[in-house]
């Protein structure tokens, strides 16, 4: 279990950080996911831990967005974006992105990193989750659907839209 968590923790942190926009909250979410996995699923087969871990992590991220939604309603000062046709009113789908950078303005290797970061952060949360779990974490469609708590068809749709948007934002500036 220690070896598994050590292997996944950095990617998990980056995923959570891209989703929630700050490192401290991301660290809390990753720790909660680790606790949940160890507490409830440590006796499961090792090859199931990846999907189970990300199921908990993505669930915690969605909870984080729900809490943000409450804060938004109460205080009204949190950001909001509605850049996806099916996510106009759902804060889980349309994450606030105060640190968004316009990708075309950036150049060089470091700039490529920032372009990617900005492009990923600009994705609606579900597209971002589907893309990172499939492309980076290497989960298959069924595992990604379980991690995201949605249907396999939704995973395919979110992934396809994410890929399309990333290509639009990155193709002119990446080699």
């Amino acid at each position: 279990m220690d070896r598994f968590l050590a292997g996944v923790e950095r990617r998990a942190l980056r995923m959570a950080e891209l989703a929630v926009g700050n490192r401290d909250d991301a660290l809390d979410l990753v720790q909660e996911a680790m606790l949940g996995l160890v507490k409830h699923y440590r006796h499961k087969r090792e090859d199931e831990w990846g999907a189970l871990f990300h199921h908990i992590l993505q669930s915690r991220i969605r909870d984080w967005y729900r809490r943000s939604k409450v804060r938004y309603r109460v205080f009204g000062w949190l950001g909001h974006r509605a850049d996806d046709e099916d996510t106009e009113t759902d804060p889980i789908q349309s994450a606030a992105d105060p640190a968004a950078i316009d990708p075309p303005r950036l150049v060089g290797n470091e700039a490529a990193m920032q372009q990617l970061e900005a492009a990923l952060q600009a994705l609606p949360l579900r597209q971002q989750q589907a893309f990172l779990l499939r492309c980076w974490e290497g989960l298959d469609v069924a595992e990604t659907a379980y991690a995201m708590d949605c249907s396999e068809g939704s995973v395919k749709t979110h992934y396809s839209r994410a890929l399309h948007k990333l290509r639009e934002q990155l193709e002119d500036h990446w080699p």
Partner: protein, 110 residues
Amino acid sequence: MTGTEENRLTDQIRQRLDQQADALDELTVARLRAARLRALGQAKRPHHRWWPLLGSALAAALVVAILVWQQPVELPGALDDLDIVASGDDLDMIEDLEFYDWLDETQTAG
């Protein structure tokens, strides 16, 4: 987008993301390690919590058992009545108590 173009893009993205993850600062890496150790430690804690509780419960049960075992048994008075009720002859006598009183008075008068 063709499959080749898609693969090229996703490979590049994966590579960049790996670079970012590998380049995390030492403080963040240490915090991750601490979080991991805390999670792994938390899993062991419930087992340790049960033993003192179970031990205390067993010790208390043992003390109660010894006290009950060593206590002299006193039969309550109701058990005397139970003996009478259990004996069929005595019960008949109780039911005919008035007859025995009359017989006693008659014998005394005689």
